[in-house]
C-alpha cells in the first residue's frame, strides 16, 4: 500500500541562497547540455500539502532557479502510475515519474518502457555522483537493472517496516526487544497475561495482512524466497516444510488470540488508531506509521520499534522498498529529468526528507527523525534486504490469489495445512492460465 507518508506540520523556510549556490556548482549549472531543452514534465506521487511534496517542491524551485529549466509538476498523488500506463501508448508521456519500487515495476519496467538512468547515476552531487550516494549494499539484493544492465530507478527514500510500540509504556522493549519468533510469542503471552491486547491489525487492508506471511516466508527462505515459490508453475513449492512452518506461525498468531478484537471487521485506520491510543501494545507496520498516526496518537506516545523477529533459519533481512524516480523511454526531455532526479540526492533535500517528511532518506549520511531511529539503526546494520511482497508482481497474483487466500488464513477460517494445499492448487491453476 503506498501509504508512505509523513505528518510535518511546520513549513521551515528554506535557505535558498546558500544551498542553491552550492548545488549549482556541483550540478553543472553551466547551461543546457546536449539533448536537454528548457522544460520537462513530472508526474508526482505526492499530493499538494503532503510533507514530501513540500520538500520536493522546494527542490523544484531551487532547480529551476539554478538551471533555468522549467519543471512542469503535476502533483497527482498515488494514482500517478496508474495514469502513466495508458499514457505510455501515446507520444505525450511525462518525462519523470516517481513511486515505490513495487509499483514502478509493473507499470513501467515489466513492459520495458523505462529508460536506463546512467546519466542520472553519473550526475555529480555533493562532490561524488548520485549513483554512489545510493548505498551499494541495497543494490546487492534489490535489482534495479533493466535488460541492458542499466539502472531504471534512482531512489530518493526508503520505506521499511518494524514492530512498533510505545517506548513510554514499554521501556523494557527498548533494552531487550524480542529477537526470535519464540521470544516474540513469549512477549505476546506476557502481554496477554498482563491483560493487554498484544497486537493491533487493520484486517481490511489485505496487503497488510499478507505482510506477516510474506515476511515469515522470507525469514525462513531468505530474500527472494517468496518470489521463487510464486514462480513455481506446479505450485508444489508451497508444500515445502519451511513454507508450512511460516503459515503455521501465522496460524499461531491467529489461534493464540493475540490479535486485537474486531480486526476482522473494521475499516482502516480504526485499529491503528487504537494502537496509537494504547489499546494494543504492538503493531507490525510500515515505517510510515508514526507520521500517519501522529494526529490522533495519545499524548506522550513515544514511537519505537524493533525488527520483525527471526525464525531460526538464519535469515534476518530488513525490508527496504526504494521510493524513487524513473523516466519513461519515450520521454522527450529525459536529460533534464535525470538531472532533477539526481538533484534530489543533495544532502539538503535528503536531510529535509528525513527531518521534515520523516521518511528514511536513501543517503546513508542524511539526518532522520527520532521516530525513525530504530528503523534507521536496523537498516544501517543489516546486510541483506527484501522488498514489499518480496517483489512479486505477476499479473493479478497478489490481489486475486495470494492475498485473498492469505486473508482466510489470517482470519482463522482455514488452517495452515489447508492454506498451503489451497495455494498449491490455486497457483497451479493460475500458471496454467498465464500466457507463456
Amino acid at each position: 500500500m503506498g501509504t508512505q507518508s509523513a505528518g510535518r506540520r511546520r513549513n521551515v523556510p528554506i535557505a535558498l541562497g546558500a544551498a542553491g549556490a552550492l548545488v549549482c556548482v556541483v550540478t553543472a549549472c553551466s547551461g543546457t547540455g546536449p539533448g536537454s531543452s528548457k522544460e520537462f514534465t513530472y508526474w508526482s506521487m505526492w499530493k499538494q500539502g503532503e510533507p514530501q511534496q513540500k520538500v520536493i517542491a522546494a527542490a523544484v524551485a531551487d532547480f529551476q532557479k539554478q538551471t533555468g529549466v522549467k519543471v512542469k509538476v503535476q502533483w497527482q498523488g498515488r494514482n500517478n502510475l496508474q495514469k502513466l500506463v495508458p499514457a505510455l501508448n501515446t507520444n505525450s508521456v511525462p518525462d519523470l515519474v516517481d513511486g515505490p519500487y513495487v509499483k514502478l515495476v509493473p507499470a513501467l519496467v515489466a513492459t520495458r518502457q523505462s529508460l536506463g538512468l546512467t546519466a542520472a547515476f553519473d550526475t555529480a552531487v555533493d562532490g561524488t555522483t548520485a549513483g554512489k550516494l545510493v548505498p551499494a549494499k541495497y543494490l546487492k539484493t534489490i535489482d534495479i537493472k533493466d535488460a541492458a544492465g542499466k539502472p531504471w530507478m534512482l531512489p530518493y527514500s526508503l520505506t521499511s517496516d518494524a514492530v512498533w510500540y510505545d517506548a513510554a509504556a514499554h521501556p523494557e522493549l527498548r533494552t531487550d526487544p524480542p529477537r526470535t519468533w519464540d521470544d516474540f510469542i513469549a512477549l505476546l503471552n506476557r502481554l496477554k497475561q498482563a491483560g493487554q491486547t498484544p497486537l493491533a491489525a487493520d484486517g481490511d487492508v489485505t496487503g497488510y495482512n499478507a505482510a506477516y506471511l510474506s515476511t515469515l516466508i522470507v525469514r525462513n527462505l531468505g530474500p527472494g524466497g517468496l518470489k521463487k515459490i510464486a514462480s513455481d508453475r506446479t505450485g508444489n513449492a508451497w508444500l515445502d516444510p519451511a513454507v508450512l512452518d511460516a503459515a503455521k506461525k501465522v496460524e499461531q498468531l491467529v489461534r493464540g488470540g493475540y490479535l486485537i478484537d474486531g480486526y476482522k471487521a473494521s475499516k482502516w485506520p480504526a485499529q491503528q488508531q487504537k494502537w496509537a491510543n494504547g489499546k494494543a501494545a504492538l503493531m507490525f507496520m510500515g515505517s510510515w506509521l508514526p507520521t500517519e498516526s501522529a494526529t490522533y496518537a495519545e499524548k506522550g506516545l513515544t514511537y519505537a520499534s524493533f525488527p520483525f523477529p527471526t525464525t531460526g533459519a538464519g535469515h534476518d533481512s530488513m525490508r527496504a522498498d526504494f521510493v524513487g524516480f524513473a523516466v519513461p523511454k519515450k520521454a522527450h526531455h529525459a536529460a533534464d529529468a535525470q538531472r532533477f532526479a539526481a538533484f534530489l540526492l543533495n544532502k539538503k533535500y535528503q536531510d529535509e526528507l528525513g527531518q521534515e517528511a520523516k521518511v528514511i532518506p536513501v543517503r546513508a549520511d542524511a539526518a532522520t527523525s527520532p521516530e525513525m531511529a530504530g528503523v534507521k539503526k536496523s537498516l544501517d546494520s543489516a546486510d541483506s534486504f527484501h522488498q514489499q511482497n518480496d517483489g512479486v508482481a505477476f499479473p493479478g497474483y497478489n490481489e486475486k490469489l495470494f492475498w485473498a487466500k492469505d486473508d482466510e488464513l489470517f482470519f482463522g477460517k482455514i488452517s495452515a495445512d489447508t492454506f498451503v494445499h489451497d495455494m498449491q492448487a490455486a497457483q497451479a491453476a493460475y500458471w496454467k492460465d498465464q500466457p507463456q
Binding site: 509493473p106 475499516k267 499479473p395 497478489n398 490481489e399 485473498a404 491453476a429
Partner: protein
C-alpha cells in the same frame, strides 16, 4: 403475457390529462404521410448524422479496439502478443470472475428488487401523506452525494467502536454483529446501494403514479376495489412504461457499479477491496489498474466484453418483456 388494457374503468370516459398518446406501429397512413416520410428521410444527415458520428467515434470505435485488445496479451503498453480466445476461456474457469459476475447479478436483481419494492411502497405511502414533497426531497438527496462520502462514513458507523455499536450498547446489545467482516461487507454494500438509489426511483415512480387521473381511483372505489386490487388493476398497468424505463436505467447502471465497492473495502480506496465483494466492473478495473501487479489489459477487456454481452442480453430481454405492456390513456 399480460394484457391489463381491458381494465380501463367503464363508467367514466377517459379524461385527457396529457396529449393523447398513441402508439401506432406500422407504416404511415398512405397518401400524405408518404410525402412527409420521404421529406423526413432527407433529414437523416442533419438529424441523425451528428449523433451517429459522435456515438461511433467515441463509443463504437473504442469498443472495437477493446475487442481487439481482448484477443491479445498486453500489459497496457509495450508489445501485444496474440492470444486468440484464450483470455475468454481463462475467464470461464476463473472462480473469481464467476463470483464477481454473480455479485453483479446479485446487485442487479436483489438490490433492484429491493429498490423497486421499496420505491413502489414509498410511492403509495407518499401519495397521500402529509409532507410528501419534503419527504421526497430528503430521500432523493442521497443519490446526488458522491459514493465516496458513504465509504468514509461507513467506517465511523460500523467499526467495532462505531456509532452503530455504541447505540446498540445503549439498548443493551453487547455482542453486535461484525458489520465490516468480509462476509458482511457485500450485504452492507447492497444496503447502501438501496439507500442511495431508492429516493431516485421513488421520485420517478411517483411522477408515474401522479399521472394517473384521480377519477380512475374514484371509479375503482365505486367499483368496490380494495387497495390491492387498485394496485393491481390500475396503478401497475398504468405506470408500466415508467417501470420499463426505470428497469433499463437500473440495469445499465448496476453493471457499472464500481466506486462504492472500491471504497467500501480496503481503506477508502487506498487498497484493493476484498475479492468477495468484487463485481465484474471491479474485476475489470483491478485487472487493468490495480497497480500492485503487472496490468493485463487483454484479460481486463475480455471480462468487460463479457459483461457487455451479459447486459446486452438483459436489456434486450427487458425490452421484450416490457414491450406492449403500456396502457394508453
Amino acid at each position: 403475457m399480460i394484457r391489463p388494457a381491458e381494465i380501463r374503468p367503464a363508467t367514466a370516459g377517459p379524461p385527457d390529462p396529457a396529449p393523447a398518446a398513441e402508439r401506432r406501429p406500422g407504416p404511415e397512413p398512405a397518401p400524405r404521410g408518404g410525402t412527409l416520410a420521404r421529406q423526413r428521410r432527407r433529414l437523416f444527415i442533419p438529424f441523425v448524422g451528428p449523433a451517429l458520428l459522435l456515438y461511433s467515434v467515441l463509443f463504437i470505435a473504442p469498443i472495437g479496439a477493446a475487442v481487439w485488445i481482448s484477443l491479445h496479451n498486453w500489459a497496457g503498453s509495450g508489445p501485444m502478443t496474440w492470444a486468440g480466445l484464450r483470455n475468454y476461456t481463462r475467464l470461464f474457469h476463473d472462480d473469481l470472475f464467476t463470483q464477481s459476475l454473480r455479485n453483479t447479478l446479485e446487485l442487479l436483481f436483489v438490490v433492484g428488487a429491493a429498490v423497486f419494492a421499496i420505491s413502489f411502497a414509498l410511492t403509495l405511502i407518499l401519495r397521500d401523506m402529509a409532507g410528501r414533497k419534503a419527504v421526497r426531497a430528503v430521500i432523493f438527496f442521497p443519490h446526488l452525494v458522491n459514493a465516496l462520502v458513504y465509504g468514509v462514513l461507513v467506517g465511523f458507523l460500523f467499526n467495532p467502536d462505531g456509532l452503530a455499536n455504541s447505540l446498540l450498547a445503549h439498548l443493551g446489545i453487547h455482542s453486535p454483529p461484525q458489520w465490516l467482516a468480509q462476509d458482511n461487507l457485500f450485504p452492507l454494500i447492497m444496503v447502501t446501494m438501496t439507500w442511495m438509489t431508492t429516493g431516485y426511483f421513488t421520485t420517478i415512480l411517483m411522477a408515474g403514479v401522479d399521472r394517473i387521473p384521480v377519477s380512475y381511483y374514484e371509479d375503482c372505489a365505486l367499483a368496490g376495489a380494495g387497495p390491492l386490487q387498485r394496485l393491481r388493476y390500475v396503478i401497475l398497468p398504468l405506470t408500466w412504461d415508467v417501470f420499463g424505463v426505470c428497469a433499463v436505467l437500473w440495469t445499465i447502471s448496476s453493471v457499472k457499479i464500481f466506486e462504492i465497492v472500491w471504497i467500501f473495502g480496503g481503506s477508502s480506496g487506498n487498497g484493493i477491496p476484498p475479492t468477495k465483494t468484487w463485481t465484474s466492473a471491479v474485476y475489470t478495473y483491478a485487472t487493468a489498474f490495480s497497480g500492485d501487479s503487472v496490468p493485463s489489459y487483454g484479460a481486463a477487456t475480455a471480462s468487460a466484453i463479457l459483461s457487455l454481452l451479459l447486459v446486452t442480453v438483459l436489456v434486450v430481454l427487458l425490452r421484450r418483456l416490457m414491450r406492449r405492456e403500456a396502457v394508453e390513456f
